[in-house]
């Protein structure tokens, strides 16, 4: 065996022999180039600033300076609490949804998903209105003068905002659990309770880890809520924001960003590439048999009571948003009025709605296509470096929005001049082309790419690779194969990626806040301004409109998907093997 091995070894350096498809190479270069512009370059500017002499001093002061130490501690504490509580909440709700028999499952499911599409301030503002110092519930009902600002309020708001992530995660896992496993456990003499502890729960361990990590990252990356309800409880994201917008200290902002970036990306990596791989549930395939749902009162009553409470809280929050939009000052002057909408729909507010929607609509297809291209390259085309490309595409999700925003502000608010030549005009900021709209679209794209990429990868993995090979064997080059075979096949994933991308673009704040300009107004930033000024009514009206736009566009898109796929299923009906 040694002789042929060495013979082959000698010939291996002849790499020129590789049959490389030039179109694939072209697409790889294009995609990597776009990613370089959208995320690598702005991120690297943050690194340059943070690792510079001024920035690095602040980075090291995270350990030496007690104030900074507290900020770092606060951030981790917040992530930890939101991760644990949000995971528990998501799990319980998913368990109730999948395993317990009750009426109104659909409504419960929608309530659990509502926070996904809601703008970042809706929850925080509503919570302040309900539970704040003059809160409708706390003061109005009980006469308490509570202080909701700070850690407790922040945890409450973040848990309510992000638990759907855990809920969806667990719901998928529980639905994929083979009911035969429960039957087998029962058959072997295990009680239902015992089967839950010894069979179901151990299989969900990767799910708990994944949810916790995801919520941890979301919590430490969030900027909107710490600004609105954080009070004196400063976290890294809000500290970086103050450094940039209040102190005009780019180096300090970058330094805080770097400290925030490291754990976020690390946790993301662990979640994506380690926990996800450990998952035992997702690979079991189609579940067989019917699930025996929990009907016994001892388990059912407390679980359902809990779900109802959560449901009521969510309803209460959104009812507050709605009520707040139509009253003068909710809780204090409850007269019905349309003034809030009048204010929001005239002048600045109107512009913001139009600008935001148009920019999100521009970014959405770009992000969707880019995500699909990355997915296609990762799953099908690249034999080496696919992990790296996947990671680069996911950076828009892994990197906290605050960090992206600061990176964009540094990278694109001034023209890129090397030597005496301008390589790139200013894309963001007041003096930029199109009033900084380009940079905002770029942010939308990079933030939205991961959702399309994920769903694209998942659906591509379902498609037999020999279908691509068949196309090649019939004379189609890679781009033709992508256009004529791959894209039509992953269209449902593509469109659901688009829907998610649009919702995400419309509701994103943290990166936008650093690059908006007077010329280009973004709704989320306007909402923040209203909240800051204490005009909650206007904020609620904005949130309501934003919700309506998002839900309307999502409905329209899914109508498009279903409408088209109905035609196809119709032709598929009848006959078949």
């Amino acid at each position: 065996m040694t002789a042929p091995a060495t013979a082959a070894g000698n010939s291996r350096p002849r790499t020129r022999r590789k049959a490389v498809d030039p179109t694939t190479v072209g697409v790889v270069i294009l995609v990597v180039g776009i990613l370089a512009l959208l995320i690598i370059y702005p991120l690297s500017t943050v690194f340059v600033q943070a690792l510079g002499p001024v920035g690095w001093e602040i980075v090291t002061s995270m350990i030496t300076n007690p104030v900074n130490r507290t900020i770092v501690g606060n951030t981790f504490l917040l992530g930890l609490l939101v991760g644990v509580i949000g995971t528990a909440l998501g799990f319980l709700l998913a368990y109730v949804q999948v395993m317990v028999r009750f009426k109104g499952k659909k409504i419960m499911h929608l309530l659990c998903l509502l926070p996904v599409v809601s703008p970042p301030f809706a929850v925080a503002t509503a919570v302040i209105t309900l539970l704040g110092r003059r809160g409708i519930v706390t003061y109005g009902l009980f006469g308490w003068e509570t202080n909701i600002y700070g850690l407790p309020g922040l945890v409450l708001v973040l848990v309510l905002s992000f638990f759907p992530v855990a809920y969806m995660n667990f719901k998928g896992m529980l639905e994929n659990l083979d009911p035969a496993l429960d039957d087998a456990a029962a058959n072997l003499g295990a009680s239902r309770w015992r089967a839950f502890w010894r069979v179901t729960l151990p299989m969900l361990v990767p799910g708990f880890a994944a949810s916790f990590l995801l919520l941890f990252v979301e919590a430490i990356a969030d900027l909107a809520n710490p600004l609105v309800i954080g009070g004196d409880f400063t976290v890294l994201a809000s500290r970086a924001f103050i450094a940039i917008t209040g102190e005009y200290d780019v180096a300090a902002g970058s330094a805080y960003s770097l400290v925030l970036l490291m754990p976020a990306v690390l946790v993301f990596l662990v979640q994506q590439y380690w926990v996800a791989r450990k998952s035992t549930v997702t690979v079991t395939g189609k579940p067989a048999g019917a699930r025996r749902q929990l009907t016994h009162a001892s388990g059912r009553v407390p679980l359902l009571a809990f779900a109802v409470v959560v449901g009521l809280v969510v309803v209460g929050i959104y009812a507050t948003v709605l009520a707040g939009a139509f009253t003068s000052i909710l809780g204090i002057n409850n007269t019905f009025t349309l003034d809030n909408f009048r204010y929001v729909l005239s002048g600045i507010g109107n512009e913001a709605i139009a600008d935001t929607t148009v920019l999100a609509l521009i970014a959405t297809p770009v992000a969707g296509l880019l995500g699909m291209l990355i997915a296609w390259l990762v799953v099908r085309k690249l034999k080496r470096g696919n992990g790296l490309l996947d990671f680069l595409g996911m950076l828009g999700l892994a990197v906290p929005g605050t960090v992206i925003g600061i990176g964009y502000a540094i990278a694109f608010n001034n023209p890129l001049i090397i030597g005496n030549r301008m390589f790139l005009p200013a894309l963001g900021g007041g003096s930029a082309l199109f009033g900084g709209a380009i940079a905002i679209v770029m942010v939308y794209v990079i933030r939205s790419v991961p959702s399309g990429q994920r769903s694209g990868i998942a659906s591509l993995k379902q498609i037999d690779p020999s279908i691509d090979e068949a196309a090649a064997s019939l004379g189609a080059d890679s781009v033709t194969t992508f256009r004529k075979v791959t894209l039509p096949l992953i269209r449902p994933a593509f469109l659901s990626g688009l829907i998610y991308a649009f919702a995400r673009s419309m509701t994103t704040l943290s990166p936008i806040i650093f690059i908006t300009t007077p010329q280009t107004r973004i709704m989320t930033k306007q909402i923040l301004a209203e909240v800051d000024a204490g005009r909650f009514g206007n904020a609620f009206a904005f949130c309501t409109l934003l919700l309506i736009i998002v839900v309307a566009v999502m409905g329209l898109m899914s109508l498009l998907v279903h409408g088209r796929s109905d035609v196809r299923t119709a032709t598929n009906l009848g006959g078949g093997a």
């Binding site: 010939s11 049959a19 033709t480 078949g576």
Partner: protein, 374 residues
């Protein structure tokens, strides 16, 4: 039937030389294909046969262009294919999973490759209709692939590949997802179509019946190397190695007690008598030998007289260990001094059926024996 036109040009000569494929695994490189040389004649039907992991599929995929050889050359009619991407090679492949495009109708599946060639509408329609007719798919033309049975899907896959008029047709275990009866039927259809069109075919399978019934020549592979290349008859009757003999059909390997070579014949003492047997190249140099006798070549007869040395199994005698009645044939397992022998008796005479424990005489004609290096 335009598809049935025979290729006039003398095309489809594949020349594979010194083909090597290494995969870099976790524990270093493994050699999947190890210096394979293979030449085909135009219009020949060649089957790559071997156990899983023998490198047959990897070889096929390198010919198709889906894998890049570590070293070696693949030529087609003298043109170097090695650096061409799959879409640039004048070959079409039929896949194990059929790989029909699920979003396209039967007709559009067949049209897929032709559309890329930018044929004019009339030629294209003629070709598609021809393919539909010849594969009996006319009534199914507007169905989606998921509305077809496995056999129908296979016909579409075949039509889609054929309609391209490739110089070479490649088959990657195309029948392994079909049930036994359909498999036999499709075998006949594939062979018929290939012969009508005169297209060179390279066919990968692990099913020896498929290989025997389809091929002009069979290439038996093992551990990345070619064990033997030959006609089905040569492979079956004159296997070069014990591996080939064992892999194709069922085989008895008898231990000879003495072997000598003279005048192109081996004189082999086995089953109690000396027989002049043909032998495999390499047998003369080998130190130990095996005699291959196929079960259907073994003659079994009830022993006429009780042996003198008690129940001892000597010479050409044996004792039946097991008898299994299959209907058309009876299979016996017989204990002899040359090892356990399996014998298959076709069309058994009910009165002559033997039972466990019966003492028998075992023999085979010298022309049906084959001496191999062990």
């Amino acid at each position: 039937m335009t598809i049935a036109q025979t290729r006039t040009a003398d095309t489809g000569r594949i020349e594979i030389s010194q083909l090597v494929k290494e995969f870099i695994g976790r524990d270093g490189p493994t050699t999947a294909v190890d210096h394979v040389d293979l030449h085909t004649e135009p219009g020949e039907f060649i089957t790559l046969l071997g156990p899983s992991g023998c490198g047959k599929t990897t070889t096929l995929r390198m010919v198709a262009g889906f894998e890049h050889p570590t070293s070696g050359d693949i030529r087609l009619d003298g043109d170097d294919m090695t650096r061409l991407t799959p879409d640039k090679r004048p070959m079409s492949m039929v896949f194990q999973s059929y790989a029909l495009f699920p979003h396209l109708s039967v007709r559009d599946n067949i049209a897929f490759g032709l559309k890329l060639q930018r044929l004019n509408a009339k030629d294209m329609n003629d070709a598609i209709e021809g393919a539909l007719v010849s594969m009996d798919l006319v009534k199914l033309a507007d169905r989606a692939p998921n509305q077809l049975s496995g056999g129908q899907q296979q016909r579409v896959a075949l039509a889609r590949a054929m309609v391209m008029r490739p110089k070479v047709l490649l088959f990657d275990e195309p029948l392994s997802n079909l049930d036994a009866k359909l498999r036999v039927q499709m075998r006949t259809e594939i062979r018929g179509l290939q012969q009508r069109l005169g297209i060179t075919a390279l066919y990968v399978t692990h099913d020896q019946d498929e290989a025997m019934s389809l091929s002009d020549r069979i290439v038996v592979m093992n551990k990345g190397r070619i064990e033997q290349m030959g006609t089905p008859d040569e492979i079956y009757r004159r296997p070069a190695t014990v591996f080939v003999a064992d892999f194709i059909g069922s085989a008895n390997f008898l231990e000879p007690s003495a072997v000598s070579f003279a005048g192109g014949v081996a004189n082999v003492r086995v089953l109690g008598s000396e027989r002049p047997l043909p032998y495999a190249p390499g047998a003369e140099q080998a130190e130990t030998h095996s005699v291959l006798v196929r079960p259907e070549s073994v003659h079994v007869q009830r022993a006429r007289e009780v042996p003198t040395e008690g129940d001892a199994v000597v010479g050409g005698r044996g004792r039946v260990l097991r008898a299994v009645f299959y209907g058309a044939v009876v299979e016996y397992e017989i204990d002899t001094n040359a090892g356990t022998i399996v014998a298959v008796v076709a069309d058994p005479d009910p009165s002559a059926i033997l039972h466990e424990g019966d003492l028998v005489e075992v023999d085979f004609p010298p022309s049906r024996g084959w001496l191999l290096p062990a």
